[in-house]
Symmetry: C2
């Protein structure tokens, strides 16, 4: 009897393994993620692991050391990792993805062997055999023959180091970092635990007074044979320096459990191994307190192994990415698509701890949420497509993001502009929060306090004095535009127009007729900056005259210029998506409009790497008969700028904005006028695309976009649920309540 | 009926008040304390409040600012307050009294008015109306018209600021400090509470790796209208500095509860008063943790008012000081006497928190005591008289000090040498812990593990390699002396001799005959350094020859010299108190000895300001018929060097050593040979002195020293319990078991 039983179990086992193997080898959406995409060409993404919208993440840190192609202090460098670089000095535990300013990239863990060396320029080394996947990164450190593997849960980074025989060390460097802020505190709690904090902030060299702490707790799977803290103090000056033989020298403080603070401090945990051995290091982080960091670590990873954490986070990624299933297309197509979708799921990210606590804006107190408090709102970028995408595919997340924005309004008196870990960086211009909220609201995400949101928008739009969101508002309201006395007067006017248009849409929906009229009018004021001769928008001085001399080309490639923020007159000329009909009229009709638009591309003024003009290709849809130009241009741009390689993003990912552009462009629709629930249609790049819809927000389970190709030519017909659509636009309502959107190409 | 009752109560009230008034106005020992004594002439005491052997203390901090006569960075200055200085920049909450190296003097509280100014050179000001008493200090800040009053419990400093109408601020400066260490952390918990830590250490510019944190919690009696943190970051260098408009500038961070770290940080609590108002600030400290600092604050001062805390600590002082009651003498005599006794009750001080926790030596872990863990053992100074005095008057404290020393041995493997807040500073030379322990033990304080103590002493005395207590031990054991290859070879040999003598006494008491013989022999080895021609001790080189050239006068006033530590050949010539008989023989008998001793004084080589020769005056007792010289010299020295004024100490108080010298000298006995329980007798300076004895250690309740004067001349007779003593020495046993020691002068 016994024997029989045993055989049965073995058989079952085999079946299970066979089944398991099949599951493993079938390529899941998460398997197509290539985190190296965007790690070159200033994409500013990082290849290390992160959970969807995770607070913690691990990035190899290879931007310190003159051996590198791009060294962090040699230029305005905003990422902890550059693919071309060769000299690695650790693995940072909190990172921002795809932004244009340096910050975070701190709490650097580094495995070494032999004697403890604390100078990163000395302990850093070259590396090889990098592998990066969703939720996983591994690398071999050449100098030490150490393999590092990394994964992460939402608030905990997990590192696994496999050391050769001999003395091995795990350094925790709290001095080195991508951020320009300095200052840290650390205390070794025991031979398996460290706690501390690191100052970060002054993002984009702004608001240094808002610099803030990130707290952490690190737990080691094996007790150190020896541990300690190092500190390199600042050099003492004056008479007393002559008595200090130790002046400015690094101090090694062995086996101590005291609190140490300083700008340049770190810890070392040393082991003596008589064979190859692995050490796992879990680092929980929190923006509230050390206690919360410890709780985050315990609750999320407790006694879980590296592999268990990896599997959980991999599954999370797979679940999120499976919300859009694509069929057809090459492996590279799928890779750039799912990597882009992955990049849109990094920011905004979770700010609250597992217990719900988070620092309120300005850190005046600790708030508590029952849902998710989101942070990292690069709204000038993301209002254009990232948030609209989130509303469509992840409406619950979008809802929580809006609730987070409204909480910020409660805490701070203003909706966010460029919020980062509960600091308002006031980077960029415009008042884009309104657009994000209206866009989601009009798409049916309405489980938040809409009236509060509405009045919050009105405050930002109407309060003339001391308004941090809309500087220059007095001119804008009185004259209809900002003048050259203000910053980027033309583009900022356009941004305010876009926001006012969104507000007008909500006013209309709420039955606020007066406001509707008022904001509709305000949204068209850009027209006063239209120069008929140039067929471009151009700045006016305070006395209403055109600013002279005016060079429409000046301002490309992020150069400072009088009229525009991060762009030139060409790159902003068409950025009035809510009034393309009006713009066409100004320009003299369809043809003039189309010619001028084409000129942007022909004269190489189109900049794929920045937001103002990224919707341009879709604007051809506004000219009957020229929609093929949109299709052709989008296809060309995707091919040119988005590739399955580190340089495969056109520039800064802008917290997923470039990636969202790609996602939309590959599924064949684009939210052409943010705030307005409408999509422009182009040719999808997969045979079939299934978007799963969240039943809490949408009636249908999913919507399918199908492509029918004859010769990969122009779109000849678009059908919704089998019936001709007769338009290259589709409302969000029609789209999500449809069943199949079929695009037939010649 | 009602009316009658009321009157009765009022009468009772009046009686009570009358009684109370009498109590107040009768001068108690504590009323004679003048904390200004020693605040000039490098006495290095501070005038602010402290409880007996308290961990916390408050000192006005007036050593920062070039307006001052003595500025802390302009020279080797070791005190937070100098009486001649005029520019005050706050009130430090932890301080060391009477030491020769700068440390602590941190956590500076400063009241200001008007706009918040964070630069101490700008907010500092002159002051007036200083009042200093036991447990109380007050001062008027001229610039702000603010009165500051200060008191302290053992672990909590309490400040009371009386502000005029208008904006008032309480600054907490964590950058400025007397210590040369830098680095602090702070977090404002609420509008009435602050928590944080400050790094201190590298005492005497030694052992920077042992720098350590002092944690604190501050509670305010009134919630601030506005609060914040300031930070002056270090200046950023390199390319990025050009984008930092804020580079190196002080940042004001309003109403934030985030953790801030840095070398130059502080907090401000601001108030808007519409009339004169007071704010009380309680600051609890701990060397273990912020939590413990908070518990110390709560348990010791809770809801107590400033006045209640003051009264408690005043009473504690009075109780301690009343252990010796003096009658007769002028007010100045009583003042210098009780102030000296007060100064002997500051260090060693309490290290453990109210819950018993303290950092163990080297801060490898947190220990816990049921008694008191003492710290600040300046043993090279204090073994000579401070500890003997404590054994006599405060034997329970002495017992706990010995237990603390033995705990340090457990923690660190070595008895302490110069222990400071659980760091071993290894300042000065010798192995004085043995002497302290033996002295107490042979005086009957034996409630500790004597055998452990004995073996701890042997380890220090015998372990040749890696012995941090006795460098040069190999030479010492082999040759009998240290050579010019070692530090201060002559004086260090003498110190080892003194320790070995103490060990021999304990060996004898424990019946360890071999050890007794061995250490007795070792204790006499200084004789090999005796130069018959010079009648002085002088250094020998490694090959045994006299070191040439040799200047017996070199080394006075703390100048470095080859043979001696902090002294010259004259100041060390007689520092063999355990072998004066032998020394006399070396010198050629009583007369030669007496002549040579007199020469020290006549040639002005005697240094009252440092320890090696402070017992010299009493050595005349060893020459029959010349005891009057001891009496005369002591009287002269007391008059010359100890006065009721800031300059009233001869130099550094050396954690109470100079003060203990004065206490002994004024009561007419002196522990002439530390370790050996014997006193030399001179003329007491009061009519009657009653020393209360602790019944836990001594049989008698008290011992009385009486003086009978005819013409204030030589002592003509000494009587113990009415019988002639026939000696100018008395054993500790006879003394404490006597009733009255009567000294009759001509």
């Amino acid at each position: 009897m016994f024997l029989t039983k045993k055989i049965t179990i073995q058989t079952a086992c085999c079946f299970y393994m066979l089944f398991f193997s099949i599951t493993i080898f079938a390529q899941q959406p998460a398997d197509f993620v290539n985190p190296f995409i965007g790690t070159s060409n200033y994409g500013a993404t990082f290849p290390g692991p992160i959970a969807p919208r995770g607070m913690a993440s691990i990035s190899p840190f290879n931007v310190a050391g003159s051996q590198n192609a791009l060294e962090k202090d040699s230029q305005w460098l905003s990422n902890p990792y550059v693919n071309e670089n060769t000299f690695l000095t650790g693995f940072s535990q909190v990172n921002i993805s795809g932004v244009g300013c340096p910050d975070l990239g701190v709490i650097l863990v580094m495995p070494t062997t032999g004697m403890v060396e604390t100078d990163h320029l000395k302990y850093g080394c070259t590396y090889s055999n990098e592998i990066a996947k969703a939720a996983y990164y591994s690398v071999q450190l050449d100098k030490y023959n150490v393999k590092g593997e990394f994964t992460a849960s939402k608030r905990v980074g997990v590192s696994k180091f496999t050391f050769p025989k001999g003395q091995s060390n795990v350094l925790l460097n709290l001095g080195l970092g991508l951020t320009n802020e300095e200052g840290a505190m650390v205390k070794i709690v025991s031979s398996t635990e460290i706690e501390g904090m690191r100052s970060v902030g002054s993002f984009c060299y702004n608001s240094p007074e808002d610099a803030y702490p990130v707290y952490f707790v690190a737990k080691f799977s094996k007790p150190a044979n020896k541990f300690g803290v190092w500190k390199k103090p600042s050099k003492y000056k004056g008479l007393e320096a002559q008595w200090m033989t130790y002046n400015g020298k690094t101090r090694m403080m062995d086996n101590t459990i005291k609190t140490v603070v300083g700008d340049s401090i770190g810890t070392y945990f040393s082991y003596q191994f008589d064979k190859e051995e692995s050490v796992e290091v879990k680092i929980g982080v929190s923006y509230v307190s050390i206690e919360n960091a410890r709780e985050n670590l315990e609750k999320e990873t407790g006694n879980k192994s590296f592999d268990a954490v990896y599997k959980e986070t991999y599954n999370e990624w797979n679940e999120e990415l499976s919300k859009i299933l694509v069929e057809g297309g090459s492996k590279d197509d799928k890779t750039i698509f799912y990597t882009a979708l992955y990049h849109t799921l990094i920011h905004p990210n979770t700010l609250n701890d597992v217990n719900g606590e988070y620092p309120e804006i300005k850190r005046k107190k600790i708030g508590k949420t029952l849902g998710t408090r989101y942070t990292v709102f690069s709204l000038w970028d993301t209002y254009r497509n990232m948030h609209p995408l989130t509303s469509l595919v992840y409406p619950k997340q979008q809802s929580d993001m809006i609730k987070s924005m409204l909480d910020m309004y409660d805490e701070n008196g203003w909706l966010p502009k460029w919020e980062l870990n509960s600091t308002e960086t006031f980077t960029m211009v415009g008042d884009p929060a309104s657009i994000v909220i209206v866009d989601a609201c009009l798409k049916g995400i309405q489980d938040f306090d809409i009236y509060k949101a509405y009045y919050a928008m009105l405050k930002g739009a109407d309060q003339i004095e001391n308004n941090p969101l809309r500087p220059g508002l007095k001119d804008y309201i009185e004259k209809g535009y900002l003048t050259t006395n203000d910053r980027g007067p033309v583009s900022t006017t356009q941004e305010y127009n876009a926001s006012d248009y969104a507000i007008s849409l909500l006013a209309k929906a709420l039955g606020k007729k007066e406001d509707y009229k008022r904001f509709t009018n305000r949204s068209l004021s850009y027209r006063k900056l239209y120069d008929k001769e140039l067929q471009l928008l151009r700045p006016r001085t305070a006395n209403g005259k055109w600013y002279e001399p005016f060079d429409p080309v000046a301002g490309a490639n992020f150069q400072e210029n009088v009229g525009f923020i991060e762009g030139n007159a060409w790159q902003y000329a068409f950025m009035v998506p809510h009034d393309i009909v009006g713009l066409k009229k100004l320009m003299g009709g369809d043809k003039a409009f189309s010619d001028q638009l084409q000129k942007v591309f022909d004269s190489k003024q189109f900049d794929m790497a920045n937001e103002p003009d990224i919707a341009y290709p879709y604007l051809f849809n506004y000219v009957k008969g020229e929609e093929w130009k949109a299709q052709e241009t989008v296809k060309k741009l995707v091919k040119e700028y988005f590739q399955n390689k580190p340089k495969g993003l056109p520039g800064n990912d802008d917290t997923g904005t470039m990636s969202a552009w790609l996602v939309y462009s590959m599924i064949g629709i684009y939210p052409i006028s943010p705030g307005d629930p409408i999509y422009a249609i182009t040719a999808p790049m997969f045979h079939r695309i299934t978007i799963k819809l969240d039943p809490a927000y949408y009636k249908k389970e999913s919507i399918v976009i199908e492509r029918q190709i004859n010769n990969d030519g122009k779109i000849i017909s678009i059908e919704l649920n089998g019936k001709p659509l007769n338009s290259f636009f589709i409302s969000h309502e029609d789209f999500v309540n449809g069943k199949t959107l079929k695009v037939i190409q010649n």
